[in-house]
Structures are given as structure tokens and as C-alpha cells.
């Protein structure tokens, strides 16, 4: 009994003590003591409860200044119901026995636990809870208390991450942090989204750096359930410690450690279903197709295909000669499915005074909402930490295996594209041909759409990834204030790709032979970091000095081999291929050496200064440009600690932060970009023999160096109402200099048709406000918190060295975005549609008068009524390439989210809305729904196309080959508002009462149902507004081709049922 009281007391005392740099460990210790307490208390309760009698306890509750506190919640631990203090701070409550523990809680204050014993009056003094401020934040090469932070570092709550039933940690991050844009590339199972921190700082690769358990990594290869904490370093002051790799922000992930106590076993799992939240379908009536195709061919001066003519001829007598009217294939239904999704995680953790351990095993499986796109992943992790006198050491070890199958995007066509193009008269299957799938007979339709179901099942594109990561560390306490830490991390990953296409007769996509291609990429990297930390408190002065030396190594090698002709589909191995073999392969190596240091100084916890410096050397650059220096400094003033604010009780925290720093980005540079090399493969022939040729074909720039981001940040942190409301506002101004761009050089150099040399010339500016707030409160038994995040972004290219960059492809338009000074990165660039000419007179009257000759001529002389009217923006009397202009940006002006978490007795409810606004989407899908310039199937909107009977419409006429460019000229017609607001996550859970779980001999059991993407408000007319960049089936990093919907795999709507059990 006494022992327990001591535990409780010591618990509170420890929190008051200043935390040292080893704060994380202490937090773990604190949590683990509570755990032990709970276990021991339960035991006593079980054995003695029957011997004692019910009694009433009463008392006064006062706050830290001695004033009565109304509304404090009092509960008997483990018993539902309870009492609250009245306006005078008095309470009374019935307790079952002397072993009962009273729990006093009030928002913003530390919980107080009192064991009743023989007392009938228990007075309590509540203390302000500084826990939120005392929270320890990992800042890279160390930790800091949240209250001492001087830079823009966001802390992501791992609980929020876990609410999303997704395969990637990064997918779960959407909406959780302002200024961190998580843009789903494609809904393909297992595909990572694009993460952009504070805008797009470069036209090159701007992925953030991930640091997992101290080890820098390009990929966040970690299971969400294993995450103990996640911090996002947003400004240069915080990222500068990562030097040449920090420019795009750093995401620090720390995985779990065991807690002191007996082994604790828990299981979490869910199972659910997902399907597309919206399908866009083309006509399922072949006569619609026949009519449009008839019109477009006749308008285009050609003959409609026999099928269309036949259907039209026999439309009225109901007898189609070629076409079987009973076949009405709904291709969209054929390629979409309801898929299942499931995840199971077991973990075991525990510890003693000597150390702790954490093991977990995880399995994730997802069918996908499109056919033949399954994903599965298995992962195990083993973390442990040990202490022996002045030594502390530990390791984290994880292995992940994943496998996915991408949709068949042969020839760059998505399955959605094929499904939209296919006409409903084609059945899916044809048992009489090789492969068993139907196709067109070429003369029927005169087009080349192919059966997407056949493509899906007859061709496979399977990726396997194996990732092994190990990091070990050792700490040695040299002196009381001086600690040495050495960390070594190694990462070994292998990606295997297998493309297998089975011989199939399926006009027009006819696989004439069975082909197999296998590829493998293996990456090995290691990092060794040695760090000295000196921390000293002298009176009001608290300073920490850290210095480190790090070196790292990266090696990648790949090989691929192809072959064709395999006798059976079951022997899909290279050894069974019979010919057409080709092989390839390569290797690259990179090394870095860095020196870094940091000084943190705090005076009375009020004035805090933080200065970072890192010097990086990288093998990616020539000796003259190898080394770079990345300094940063930041200051904070905790005004709330000043005497003049002490009297204002409502303000528990008020801090101003100011930071400036320079950080680098070495990602745009390949491992040997600066090296002038000779290339092989420049062959010539001699009498049927290939003569190998080797020469110089390009010009490299030995002076290339990393991109530099200079970042200014001003932030305010506010805590009000005893911490019930916390808010953070930041303004940043982030300027990229020395951006690497390909500067064109004359072709007369001999470097080819469009030669360029990489130079550090471009400049980009990103600026914006970030706002986040959380309000926590309790009304009766209802605990709730409201969280709001909002970020604005203004992206502007401030210099491109007069070399606009083009990007993005929609059908035959290969550069639909332009990146140019004065605009944002990757803005859409095309014609402006004024409308559809209702009649021929409107075409004739759309004229231009030559200012010098005064002669008036038609602007679109070749146009006909029903064609699109384009704006002659340069006013030269004709529609030409110079009439293109900026017609939209894929970068949202505003990203926001709103989350409400509610808990009532055993129930908990969480909903998160997330949205973006001010961005546009350029959609290729319009070509396949409203194109009407060829013989493909047509969308339902074409019913409103221009015809002599329907003149006032915004959809042009059907015309073969599109002579006016109605659809083939990229214009405002293709650009849609990409804003959306969606109910991203909703979760309802129920935790079983303790007496039930006790009966079941388990410590905790929670059941929940959850949904993702439950509803979406958007004007985007196609599948999904959450689209990214990149080719089909690849995660996009191309910043100049964002926001283009090439028929991407849409996001799913997911429903799951889950269970969490702690044994």
C-alpha cells in the first residue's frame, strides 16, 4: 500500500524535474512505472475487495494558486461514473473500499491519484500540466523540449497516423500538419504519395529527407504501428543540421521502445472493403456510339466503319446484322472491383532496469479497387535498449517485404483509358482464341482500343521490395555533462521487377509471343555518426553544445534481363525463355563526409538561441565544389515567462520564434554528373558486323554544386486557458537559389539536337502562412479535442535563366505545362476556349482587322459551326501557338484539415475533413469522354454535343481528325477546378469496460469501425481530384507535370472493422 503511494508521488515529482537530453528514455520510464502500478493495483483489488465496505469521501480541490477549482472530475479508478467539484471546489464521492483510488482530472492540469485508505476527507491541490510543453521533441542529433524550440518543427501524433488504413506512413500523413502537402500520386495499392514540405522548392526532386531512428534515408520504410514519434522539420533553422540534404524538409521518425515491466502483448487488426467512390462511364449503348461515329466520319470527309453504318441502317427495325444487341459490356464495371483490405500487427514489449525491448510483426494485404492490382506487405521489427553503468546501447532492426502488381499500362495507356474507349458491343471473353479474351476485328471499328480485362490478366508487372535496416548505437557518459554517442546504421534494399506477357490473340493488343523481363536493383548504404554532447545548467543558464562527425556510403547496382517464348504460362522464369535475350546493368557509388555542430542556449527558459552549422562534402561534386557550409540560427522569446505576463492566467504559453538558415539539396545531382564521360553504344556497321563506338556525346559541367534554400521563418506559439487551446502560426519565406537547370547550349557544339548543360542558375520562392490549433476540453463525461490546420502557399519562379521548362503530356500535347519566371512551377499552358460557334455566321463574324491594311479577315477560317472558338490572345488574326497562355496551376493556394476527436465513456469518435483549394487539374480523360474525333466509344455528355438541332452548347461537334483542334488543342476546356473537401477519415470505437476486460483476463480491448474518403465535395467531373504526377504506375517526383490526370488509378473509399487488444 505504502509502496504504491510512493510510486504515485514519485511519478508527479519526476515530471516537475527538468528533463535532460535523454528525455525520451525518461518519458518511457514514467510511462512504464504507471504500467507497473496498474498491474500491481489490480492484483490487490482482486484479493481484498470482498473484505471491505463502501464509504463516502469528500474534500476540497484547489488550483496551483490555492483558489477553489470548480468542475474537476473525480472518478474511482476502474469504476464507471463519478463526480465533479461544485463552484466552491468541493466534492463528494462514494468509494467501494479503502483500496479504491480516486482520480482527479481537469483539462490542462496534471492528473492526481489518491488512494483512499482510511481517509474520508481528501483535499487535493491540482498542478498545472506542463506536460505538453515538457514534451520532448527529436530535433536531429538530439532532442529538445517543445517549449524550448526555436524553429518550425511539427509533431505528428502517431495515434492520428494509425487511423488511416493505408499501406504507407506518408499516405497516413495527409492533413495532419500544415505546410506538409501529401499528394496521392495514384490510388494504386502500395504506391507512396508525393510529400512536399512548404511548397515546391525546385523543378528537380524535392522529396523530403526521412530520418528513421537517426539514420537518414530516402524512403520512409517503416510500419505505422511501430512509430513512437514523428517530427517534421520545416524551416532551415531545423533542417540545416542535415546540410546538403535538408532543403526539402526532414521527417524524423522514431520507432517504439519497450517499457519497463513484464512483457506486454498486444494485437491490432482490421479487415474491410474498398471500392471506387465514383466511376465515370462512357455509353453502354452502341447506337450512341454509332451515331457519333457516323457524324464524326461524315463531317471529316471519310466513311464511317461498317458497324456504325449497319447499326444506323437497322436502328429502327431492331435488327443489327453485325452487332449482337444482347452484349452490353460495361467496361468500367469490368475493370473495377470491391477489394478487401486487412492488416494484422502483433507486438511484444517490456523491460527491466537493465533495458527494454520491442518486437513487432505486421502483415498488410490489399486487393485494390481495380482488377489484378494486389499488394501485400510483411514486416518485422526488433528494437532494444540496454544500460550498463555509464554505457547505454541498443539497436533497431527491421525487415520489410512487399509485393505489388501494377495495372497494365502498356504503351502508356491506363486501363481507365482503354475501358473508356472500348465499345459495349465487345464481350469480355472469347474462349475460341488464344488467351480467351475478345478484341475487335480491325475493320469493324477502325480503332485500337484493347480489352483492358485481357491486358490485366494476360500481362503482369510485379514488383517486390525487400528492405533490411539495422542501426546500433552506443552512448558513453564521459562526464556528468558530457556524453558521447556513436551510431552505425546500415540499409540494404532490393527491388525486383518482373514483367510477364503471355501470348494472346486480342486485336489490337496482340501479344505475339510470351515475353519475360526481370530486373533487380540493390541498394546498400551505411551511415556512421559520432557525436559529443555537452549539456550544462548553471543557474539561469542552460546550454547544450553538440558536435558530430558523420560519414556515409551508398552503393546501388542493377541488372535486367529479357527473353521471350516460354512454352507454358507456369514457367515464367528466364531459364525457360527461348530467345531474344537482352541484358543490362550498372552500378553507382556515393560517399559523404560531414562535420556538424550546434549550440543551444537558454536563459531562464525565456530567451533561447539555437545555432547550427554543418559542413558537407559529397562525392557527387568535383573537388572544387565538393564542400558546402550550411549555417542557421534561430531565436525564441517565451514572453509568457516574463513577469508582466505572469498575472494573466489565461496565457499559459506565448512564444515568438525567428529563424534563418541555408540548406542544400543534392538530390537533383546524379552520382557523377560533374564527370565528363565517353559513352558507348555509338556503333557503326561493317558488312553486317556491329563495330563498337565510344565517344563524347554531351557536355557536363564540372562546376555543378547543390541547390541552396535560404529560409526565413517567423512563428508564434500560443497556449491559452491552461493549455486547453494551443495554437501555432508561422510565416515563412523560402528562397531557392542555385537551382539546377539544364541551360541550352548551341547544337553546334555537337551535343545533339537539343543539348544542354546543367547549371546552378534558377531561383524559386515559396512563401506562406501555416496555422494549426488544438482545443481540448471536457464536458461531463465527454472528452473532446478539435484540431485545425491550414496553410497557404505562394510559389513563384523568380529566375529560370530565360529558359522556360516544359512538361506534362496529354495525348499528343507533349508540353502542357510551362515553368517560367513570374509563374509557379508547372503551370498549365494552353489555348483559351471562348465557346462553341453556334452557327456558321458566328464563324464568319469572328474576325480580325489588320491595323495597318485595315483588311478584315476571319480568325478561324477553317472552323465550321459547332467547332470551338479560341481566343486570339496575341491579336494577330489567327490561332497559333503564340495564343497559348497560363490557364491554371496544379499547386493549391490553400490546404487545410479539420479534425474532431470525441470520447464519451467507452466510446470514441474521430473525424477528419481534409481539403485543398485554388488548384487546377488538367484532364486527359476528356479526350476519351468528349473527344469525338475518332471511332472510340463516347461519353454520355456527348449527347449534348453541337448538332444543327442543338446549337447552344459548350460541347463541340463530332468531327473526324479534329481539324479545328476542338479536343486536340490543349485549352481551358481540359482544365478543371481541382479543389475538394473530403471526409478523409471517420472512426468510431468502443473500449470495453474494465470489469469486462478483467473478466476476459485482458487489460484492454477496443473495437472500432472506420472509413476513409467517405464523401468528397468537388467540381472535378472525373474519377478523383486527388491526383499526383508521374507516369502510370510510378510515384511521381516530376514537379513540372503535376496535376495532370492521365487516367490514374483513383483513390478508394474504404470501410474497415478493427480490433485492438492489449493482453
Amino acid at each position: 500500500m505504502k509502496k504504491q503511494t510512493n510510486y504515485l508521488t514519485s511519478n508527479r515529482i519526476r515530471i516537475k524535474k527538468p528533463l535532460l537530453n535523454l528525455g525520451l528514455v525518461l518519458v518511457a520510464l514514467i510511462l512504464s512505472t504507471s504500467q507497473i502500478n496498474a498491474i500491481e493495483g489490480d492484483k490487490d483489488f482482486d484479493t481484498k475487495s470482498s473484505e471491505l465496505q463502501q464509504m463516502t469521501v469528500s474534500g476540497d480541490v484547489k488550483d496551483e494558486t490555492g483558489l477553489p477549482m470548480p468542475g474537476v472530475n473525480i472518478q474511482v479508478e476502474g469504476v464507471a461514473g463519478g463526480s465533479t467539484t461544485n463552484v466552491s471546489g468541493k466534492y463528494s464521492i462514494v468509494v467501494p473500499n479503502a483500496d479504491a483510488v480516486l482520480v482527479f482530472t481537469f483539462i490542462g492540469y496534471n492528473q492526481v491519484k489518491e488512494i483512499v485508505g482510511t481517509r474520508t476527507i481528501i483535499d487535493v491541490n491540482m498542478e498545472l500540466n506542463f506536460e505538453a510543453l515538457e514534451e520532448v521533441v527529436v530535433v536531429g542529433y538530439g532532442t529538445q523540449k517543445k517549449k524550448d524550440l526555436t524553429s518550425a518543427i511539427a509533431v505528428v501524433n502517431p495515434t492520428e497516423l494509425k487511423k488511416a488504413p493505408v499501406a504507407n506512413v506518408t499516405s497516413a500523413m495527409i492533413g495532419l500538419t500544415p505546410g506538409v502537402e501529401v499528394q496521392s500520386n495514384q490510388g494504386t495499392p502500395g504506391m507512396a504519395p508525393t510529400v512536399r514540405i512548404r511548397g515546391v522548392a525546385s523543378t528537380n526532386n524535392t522529396n523530403p529527407l526521412y530520418v528513421i531512428d537517426g539514420i537518414p534515408n530516402e524512403n520512409p520504410n517503416v510500419n505505422t504501428n511501430d512509430i513512437e514519434s514523428m517530427q517534421i522539420l520545416k524551416d532551415a533553422a531545423s533542417t540545416a543540421i542535415y546540410g546538403s540534404r535538408g532543403a526539402n524538409g526532414v521527417i524524423i521518425i522514431t520507432t517504439k521502445a519497450g517499457k519497463k515491466g513484464a512483457p506486454k502483448v498486444s494485437y491490432q487488426g482490421y479487415y474491410g472493403w474498398e471500392k471506387a467512390w465514383k466511376l465515370v462511364k462512357n455509353s453502354t449503348d452502341i447506337s450512341d456510339w454509332a451515331q457519333v461515329v457516323y457524324e464524326n466520319n461524315t463531317a471529316g470527309g471519310t466513311t464511317a466503319p461498317p458497324l456504325a453504318l449497319d447499326i444506323r441502317a437497322h436502328e429502327n427495325d431492331g435488327e443489327y446484322v453485325i452487332y449482337d444487341p444482347s452484349i452490353k459490356t460495361d467496361w468500367m464495371e469490368e475493370i473495377f472491383q470491391t477489394g478487401t483490405i486487412m492488416e494484422n500487427t502483433f507486438d511484444i514489449s517490456g523491460g527491466s532496469d537493465a533495458g527494454n525491448y520491442y518486437f513487432s510483426a505486421n502483415q498488410y494485404k490489399q486487393d485494390g479497387i481495380m482488377i489484378d492490382t494486389p499488394y501485400k506487405r510483411y514486416g518485422v521489427r526488433m528494437n532494444s535498449n540496454w544500460q550498463a553503468g555509464k554505457f547505454k546501447f541498443g539497436e533497431t532492426l527491421s525487415f520489410t517485404y512487399s509485393q505489388n502488381e501494377l495495372e497494365d499500362a502498356n504503351g502508356g495507356r491506363s486501363n481507365i483509358e482503354e475501358a473508356l474507349k472500348m465499345t459495349p458491343n465487345i464481350p469480355v471473353y472469347n474462349p475460341n482464341v488464344k488467351g480467351g479474351y475478345s478484341g475487335y476485328s480491325a475493320s469493324d471499328m477502325g480503332h485500337d482500343a484493347s480489352n483492358p480485362v485481357g491486358s490485366a490478366y494476360r500481362a503482369s508487372n510485379i514488383n517486390q521490395n525487400r528492405n533490411f535496416a539495422l542501426s546500433v548505437y552506443g552512448d558513453y557518459q564521459i562526464l556528468k555533462d558530457l556524453t558521447f554517442r556513436s551510431t552505425f546504421g546500415v540499409n540494404n534494399s532490393q527491388a525486383l521487377n518482373k514483367n510477364f506477357t503471355l501470348e494472346t490473340y486480342m486485336i489490337p493488343k496482340n501479344y505475339s509471343t510470351t515475353t519475360l523481363s526481370n530486373g533487380s536493383t540493390t541498394n546498400v548504404s551505411w551511415v556512421w555518426e559520432n557525436q559529443l554532447t555537452y549539456h550544462k545548467i548553471m543557474g539561469s543558464h542552460d546550454f547544450t553544445l553538440m558536435g558530430a562527425y558523420t560519414s556515409d556510403y551508398f552503393h546501388t547496382d542493377n541488372f535486367n534481363a529479357n527473353g521471350s517464348i516460354i512454352q507454358t504460362e507456369f514457367h515464367d522464369v528466364l531459364g525457360k525463355t527461348e530467345g531474344n535475350w537482352t541484358v543490362g546493368g550498372g552500378e553507382s557509388t556515393g560517399t559523404r563526409i560531414s562535420y556538424l555542430g550546434r549550440l543551444t542556449y537558454s536563459f531562464k527558459g525565456k530567451y533561447i538561441i539555437n545555432a547550427n552549422f554543418r559542413r558537407d562534402g559529397s562525392s557527387k561534386f568535383s573537388a572544387a565544389n565538393r564542400w558546402g557550409n550550411f549555417p542557421s540560427a534561430s531565436v525564441a522569446w517565451r514572453i509568457s515567462e516574463e513577469p508582466f505576463l505572469n498575472s494573466i492566467q489565461q496565457i499559459s504559453n506565448l512564444k515568438l520564434r525567428l529563424s534563418y538558415g541555408a540548406v542544400g539539396n543534392d538530390r537533383p545531382v546524379g552520382y557523377y554528373t560533374y564527370v565528363q564521360g565517353l559513352n558507348s553504344g555509338q556503333d557503326y556497321s561493317y558488312n553486317g558486323v556491329k563495330l563498337s563506338g565510344v565517344t563524347q556525346t554531351n557536355f557536363s559541367n564540372p562546376n555543378l554544386r547543390w541547390e541552396v534554400v535560404k529560409d526565413f521563418d517567423f512563428g508564434v506559439d500560443i497556449g491559452l486557458f491552461k493549455g486547453a487551446l494551443e495554437a501555432t502560426v508561422d510565416y515563412y519565406d523560402k528562397r531557392t537559389e542555385d537551382m539546377i537547370i539544364g541551360v541550352p547550349i548551341p547544337a553546334s557544339t555537337g551535343g545533339g539536337t537539343n543539348p544542354s548543360i546543367n547549371k546552378n542558375l534558377g531561383q524559386i520562392k515559396n512563401s506562406g502562412f501555416e496555422f494549426s490549433a488544438i482545443y481540448r476540453d471536457k464536458i461531463g463525461d465527454l472528452d473532446f479535442s478539435l484540431i485545425g490546420n491550414l496553410a497557404t502557399l505562394k510559389n513563384e519562379v523568380t529566375d529560370m535563366a530565360n529558359n522556360p521548362l516544359n512538361g506534362g503530356t496529354i495525348e499528343s500535347n507533349t508540353s502542357i505545362t510551362k515553368t517560367e519566371k513570374g509563374h509557379s512551377i508547372g503551370e498549365f499552358y494552353g489555348y483559351k476556349m471562348l465557346g462553341v460557334f453556334p452557327d456558321q455566321a458566328s464563324v464568319t463574324n469572328y474576325t480580325w482587322t489588320n491595323p495597318t491594311t485595315n483588311v478584315t479577315s476571319p480568325i478561324q477560317p477553317a472552323a465550321r459551326e459547332g467547332d470551338v472558338q479560341f481566343a486570339d490572345l496575341n491579336n494577330n488574326g489567327k490561332i497559333d501557338a503564340d495564343d497559348r497562355t497560363y490557364i491554371g496551376s496544379p499547386i493549391p493556394d490553400l490546404t487545410y484539415s479539420f479534425t474532431a476527436n470525441l470520447a464519451y465513456k467507452g466510446f470514441d469518435l474521430s473525424v477528419m475533413f481534409q481539403g485543398v483549394s485554388g488548384n487546377e487539374i488538367a484532364s486527359e480523360l476528356l479526350f476519351w469522354t468528349e473527344g469525338m474525333h475518332n471511332n472510340f466509344n463516347v461519353g454520355t455528355k456527348t449527347a449534348d454535343r453541337w448538332t444543327p438541332e442543338n446549337r447552344n452548347t459548350s460541347i463541340p461537334r463530332a468531327v473526324r481528325n479534329d481539324p479545328n483542334g476542338n479536343i486536340t488543342k490543349f485549352s481551358t476546356r481540359h482544365v478543371f477546378d481541382g479543389s475538394y473537401l473530403r471526409l478523409k477519415t471517420a472512426q468510431l470505437g468502443y473500449t470495453l469496460p474494465k470489469n469486462v476486460t478483467d473478466f476476459m483476463k485482458i487489460s484492454n480491448l477496443r473495437l472500432y469501425v472506420s472509413g476513409r474518403n467517405l464523401f468528397t465535395v468537388t467540381d472535378y467531373p472525373f474519377f478523383d481530384p486527388e491526383i499526383g504526377s508521374g507516369a502510370l504506375g510510378t510515384a511521381g517526383t516530376a514537379n513540372t507535370s503535376r496535376g495532370i490526370d492521365n487516367g490514374y488509378y483513383p483513390q478508394a473509399r474504404t470501410f474497415i472493422m478493427g480490433i485492438q487488444v492489449d493482453f
Binding site: 556497321s685 563506338g693 565517344t695 553546334s748
Partner: protein, 534 residues
């Protein structure tokens, strides 16, 4: 911290033996058959349509800038213009690399016994020839005072933006390179067999130099160079070239690098018909010959308007039951598909009729009646090499052949000795024209219908002097005619029309033609934009 790049070779150390020296040289050649910039595609298009032989059918109009190029409408933004420019300079860069690499390799590989000084001379000679050849093309196609002179590759960033050199510097540079090639390639004389048959030879160097002089109006200097390769008056040290008996046989894929051929761009189907865009095969022929998988898929981007046939001489003959049939100069049958009574294409054993297919009615310059080019084409799908799709032609492009040099020499003689019309005198133009016409009168292989009816019958072209008399032609008119019919569809015309300073009315049906100046390409706009020295 210095990491070694295994993906590329180091220019400082790589060229260190004979194999690597050869690789530098091969790379200098490789631009010739490169898909992007070589004769298999862009340069090929300019080689064949940049003149007045081929016209666009309308199929080419929206295809790259081909329609525009064939109309001789050359804008500074036309990609074909930019590609010609870029391709020539890519060849120059590679030649310059080779010119440094070869002696460097020899200096390092001192102990390599098989790497002799003679080998070095032959390699260096070829590299000089190639650099001259790429400059020759620039000089013929582009404004001659806007060309940049590279003696080595650009060695600094500033040098990438070099200013153009004076016209005479370029001219002298080409002459000097060709003279170096001539002196270095003493053992490299394009004999009928062996490695040098496929390469730039001593004969090729002097022939090209002669062409350069001739285009400059330096007929005497040109004649000296041409004479070196001409049978009878030539020097065997420059090769033993002879006119083939069979004119049609000149262009067959089975008769590449023949005894009449002085320089060819080599194409070989090395990768078994790799997909579109490969360098091993020639993708250009399919656009105006009949290199297709099947008759049904044949199309023409370029064709020959019917009136071009009028330039060919003709005479009546009785063929079988058909009296007074018109028979053309045999070269017409070898040159064009669709000449009445001429050869037809055979697909899988079935003879396809040009007229029945409707190609004759393909509209060219708004006039129905069109021919395809038969030179370089397969007559029969069965003639395609095993495993090769016929449209992936591996036929070489004949750049310089002896027949061309005969007529160029004749032209020099006509300019130098205008009064000499003695058929037996090698210093007269008619002597060399007659040689060409004699060959044209010989029966040719593969004249399907013609041969079956007229086996063993020879052609009836009169001698040069007889023709001049009957037509009232001057020597130059004779030569213009003979060059037209002999070299039709081989890309001779662009230089001829320029050299003869043909005026606005001479070429019809090409909207860009305003006289010979229209053959000069503008400088690519991208080059003007990129190079501050323009």
C-alpha cells in the same frame, strides 16, 4: 571522396589501344546511320526530298516538318533544319574526338605490335574525311558564312558559344582535311573486297574534294581530283572503280559497296529488326519506296509527279502482241514504280499491280498521277533478309558513286573545253556521257514484264552527240538531262540546281521554290536563340 563512374569511360584514359582508337573512329561514323540525325531518318529526308525529285503526297503534311521540307519551305523553326545542323556538328565533335584519340592511343600502346603506323594513318585519314564530310554538308545546306569551326571539341563553358568563322576558313578547312585524308589513306583505296570497301577511302576523299571544288566553280581543280578515280585516266592508287553493267543492280541491298560505289552510308540489320528508331536499319526508304510488310499497308509520304517521267527518253517497240508500245530509257524502269510496262512489286509470290492499287492516282501537287521510287526498294517481299520486316530496310545509302563522277567530270570538261565534242576524247564531255548512256542501254535484271517479252534486247538511247543534234542541245543541256535521268531519286539535284543557279520558273509544284537560293536552309532559330554570338 572521389568515386569512380562505371557508367561512362574517362576521356583522359580510355583511348589507350588500337581497339579503343577504332571505337573513337566508329563513333565518328555512327552519326551517319544514327536514327535521330543520320541518313536513316532526318538527314535522309533532307538528302532525298531536298531537291525536285520527290514531292509530298499529302500524307507527309502533318508529319514532323516533312511536308514543309519537301515543299522547300524551310523556316528557322523547322525541326528538320535543326536536325541537319545538329547532326552535322555531332559528327564533327566525334571526328574531333577521334582525331585526338587515335594518336593518343598509339602513343600509349607503343608495345602493341599489330597497331602499326599504317593503321594510325588509315584511321586518321578516315577521321579527317569524316570531319570534312560533315562540314561539306553544312557548307552545302547552310549559309556558308554562319558555320562554326571546331578544330577540337569545346574545352570550356565559354567555348560552347563560339562565333561563326569566315566562309573561306571553312572552305579551306574542308580542303585541308580532304587533302590530309588523301595523303594518309594511301593504302585505303576502296577495292572490291575487304574492310576499306565499307569505309571512307582515298577515292572518296578526292571525289568529295572534286565535288567541293566544282560547287565552287573551280572546274579545273575539280577535274584533277575526279580524274584520279576515273577508269582509264585514273590512278590505281586511288582505287579501281568501274561502272556496273547493270544499272538496277547498283541499288540492290544485295549489291552494296559495289565496284561503282565510292562512298556509302552503311546500314545493317544487326539487332534482328529492333523496333522503330533503331540505328541499324534505314527508316527513310519506307516513305517513298515499297519497303513494307504487305502491299495493303503501303503508303507514300513522298512520290514522283507523273510529268517527271517526261524527261526520260522513249521509243516505240513491238512487244509481243502489243505493237508500238512505248519503251522508256531503261533507267526509268529501274528508278520508278508505275512506269507503264515497268516492273511490279511481288508480295508473297503475287505480283501487285501499281495501277490497280490506285497509287498512280495518289494526288501529288494536286495532279493525279504519281510514281514511287524503285531505287533502293525490294522488288519482292521474299528478298527481305530472314527475319527482317521489309520496312526495316537495311539497304545502304549511296552517297558518291562513279556514275555521278563520270557526269561531274563531263560537266567540268564541258566548262573547260566547251568546243570539244569528240566522242573518243577523254577531255570531251560527250566521251563520259556516252559511257553512261552505253551502260543504260544494257538489259537490267528484275524488269519483270519487260524482260519476259524482250529478253536480250538492248536499249535504243542514241549517243550523246546524236541526242544533242536531234534536240539542238548544248553540252550543258545534255549534261543536265543526263544527270537528271541517271541520278533521279538519289539526292543529286540539290547541288545541281544550286550549281546551275536555276531560277524561279525552273521547278514547279514546290511552293517554297523561288530559285536556287531557296535550297539554302536558314540557321535554326534555336541556335540563334542559344548562341549570343549569332
Amino acid at each position: 571522396m572521389e568515386e569512380f563512374n562505371k557508367g561512362v569511360y574517362d576521356p583522359e584514359t580510355f583511348y589507350n589501344n588500337e581497339t579503343h582508337a577504332n571505337q573513337a573512329l566508329n563513333a565518328a561514323y555512327s552519326v551517319l546511320n544514327d536514327f535521330g540525325n543520320g541518313y536513316g531518318w532526318t538527314t535522309g529526308i533532307m538528302h532525298f526530298v531536298h531537291g525536285d525529285d520527290l514531292y509530298q503526297t499529302g500524307n507527309a503534311s502533318g508529319f514532323n516538318g516533312w511536308g514543309s521540307a519537301s515543299d522547300l519551305v524551310f523556316t528557322s523553326t523547322l525541326s528538320e533544319v535543326a536536325d541537319m545542323w545538329a547532326g552535322s556538328y555531332a559528327g564533327i565533335l566525334r571526328s574531333n574526338i577521334a582525331l585526338q584519340a587515335i594518336p593518343n592511343a598509339k602513343a600509349i600502346a607503343v608495345t602493341e605490335a599489330t597497331f602499326t603506323d599504317a593503321d594510325v594513318n588509315n584511321m586518321m585519314g578516315q577521321a579527317h574525311f569524316l570531319r570534312a564530310y560533315y562540314y561539306y554538308n553544312l557548307f552545302q545546306y547552310f549559309p556558308q558564312d554562319r558555320i562554326i569551326l571546331w578544330r577540337t571539341e569545346a574545352k570550356s563553358e565559354a567555348e560552347l558559344f563560339k562565333a561563326p568563322a569566315p566562309r573561306d576558313s571553312i572552305l579551306n578547312f574542308i580542303v585541308s582535311d580532304l587533302k590530309k585524308a588523301e595523303s594518309l589513306l594511301t593504302g585505303f583505296t576502296n577495292v572490291t573486297a575487304g574492310y576499306d570497301k565499307f569505309r571512307a577511302s582515298r577515292g572518296a576523299a578526292v571525289a568529295l574534294l572534286g565535288k567541293l571544288y566544282m560547287n565552287e566553280g573551280m572546274y579545273a581543280e575539280a577535274a584533277v581530283e575526279f580524274a584520279k578515280v576515273l577508269p582509264g585516266i585514273g590512278d590505281p592508287d586511288y582505287g579501281t572503280y568501274t561502272l556496273l553493267d547493270n544499272y538496277r543492280g547498283l541499288f540492290l541491298r544485295t549489291n552494296e559497296n559495289n565496284a561503282e560505289s565510292i562512298f556509302e552510308v552503311q546500314f545493317d540489320n544487326l539487332t534482328g529488326g529492333a523496333g522503330f528508331g533503331g540505328n541499324d536499319v534505314n527508316w527513310i526508304f519506307q516513305n517513298f519506296t515499297l519497303n513494307r510488310t504487305s502491299w495493303a499497308t503501303i503508303w507514300f509520304n513522298f512520290a514522283v509527279p507523273g510529268f517527271k517521267l517526261n524527261e526520260f527518253e522513249r521509243w516505240p517497240e513491238n512487244i509481243g502482241a502489243d505493237p508500238d508500245s512505248t519503251v522508256y530509257d531503261y533507267r526509268a524502269y529501274a528508278t520508278l514504280w508505275g512506269v507503264p510496262g515497268g516492273a511490279n512489286f511481288t508480295e508473297a509470290g503475287t505480283v501487285k499491280d501499281w495501277y490497280a492499287q490506285g497509287w498512280y492516282n495518289e494526288s501529288v501537287i494536286g495532279v493525279a498521277g504519281a510514281y514511287g521510287i524503285r531505287k533502293y526498294a525490294l522488288d519482292n517481299t521474299a528478298d527481305a533478309p530472314t527475319g527482317l520486316d521489309p520496312l526495316w530496310s537495311d539497304n545502304n545509302v549511296r552517297i558518291v558513286r562513279l556514275g555521278d563522277i563520270y557526269l561531274r567530270y563531263a560537266e567540268c570538261m564541258a566548262q573547260l573545253n566547251p568546243a570539244n565534242v569528240t566522242p573518243t576524247d577523254v577531255n570531251s564531255a560527250v566521251y563520259w556521257v556516252d559511257k553512261i548512256r552505253e551502260r543504260a542501254n544494257r538489259p537490267m535484271i528484275d524488269q519483270v514484264q519487260l524482260l519476259s517479252a524482250r529478253a536480250g534486247v538492248y536499249g535504243q538511247l542514241p549517243t550523246a552527240t546524236a541526242l544533242m543534234a536531234s534536240k539542238g542541245w548544248t553540252l550543258m543541256q545534255l549534261i543536265e538531262h543526263e544527270r537528271f535521268v541517271e541520278g533521279f531519286g538519289e539526292g543529286w539535284r540539290k547541288e545541281d540546281l544550286k550549281r546551275w543557279r536555276k531560277g524561279a520558273g525552273y521547278v514547279t509544284g514546290k511552293s517554297g521554290w523561288t530559285g536556287w537560293e531557296s535550297l539554302i536552309l536558314p540557321l535554326p532559330q534555336s541556335e540563334i536563340d542559344r548562341n549570343p554570338n549569332y
